[in-house]
Symmetry: C2
Subunit: 117 residues, 2 copies
């Protein structure tokens, strides 16, 4: 989990390597972003993050797990994230992710977040 969260920060946000999202989201993952309808499927999710990160000129997304509940064949994580946008803005976000194993790797299957203020 720490590895995946780190990948999201350093590869996706840091290096804008959007193909790293293949290792983060399941093929049929869904994200529920604030201010937009739900987005289904990894290719649409890749478009979302690519557009969002480039338009906001985002630099990093540091994720921190607050709690993880193991379920039968997955896990529910509550966490917080600090997003850094250029030139000099930070945003505090909290999230819930439902993790699922896909091809031997734990990935985000459902991902929803909102801002703290």
């Amino acid at each position: 989990m720490a590895d995946t969260n780190d990948l999201f920060n350093k590869e996706v946000f840091g290096k804008r390597n959007f193909d790293a999202l293949d290792r983060i989201y399941t093929t049929d993952a869904r994200i529920l972003p604030p201010g937009a309808p739900m987005i289904s499927g990894r290719s649409a999710i890749k478009e979302f993050w690519s557009g969002m990160i480039q338009s906001a000129n985002a630099k990093s997304a540091v994720l921190e797990s607050i709690d993880v509940i193991a379920t039968g064949d997955g896990a529910v994580e509550i966490g917080r994230a600090t997003l850094t946008l250029e030139p000099n803005a930070q945003m505090e976000v909290k999230y819930v992710v439902y993790w699922k194993n896909e091809d031997g790797r734990w990935k985000w299957h459902i991902d929803i977040w909102n801002a703290n203020s």
Copy 2:
């Protein structure tokens, strides 16, 4: 689930019967509302909904399940909600709820939502 979602709409929003939340949330549930920090524990959650419903003069919250994934000892639900506020405003919301069985009843253990626009 349909029964609990209905209770939230008709009792909590419709009749402002906040004690009905005892049948909706687990004792140690957590909610992650947009624009505020996470709130832990049913008594704090009851205060949140009581304050929110009264200050927004909310009338109803019609919940509709989009998908339910059964996990080991719980379930993850994705849904949408239409909130009606007085005098004449509607708000479209999407949510993820992690359901857990408490005392023989299925309840919301983690509840996070955000607006569609």
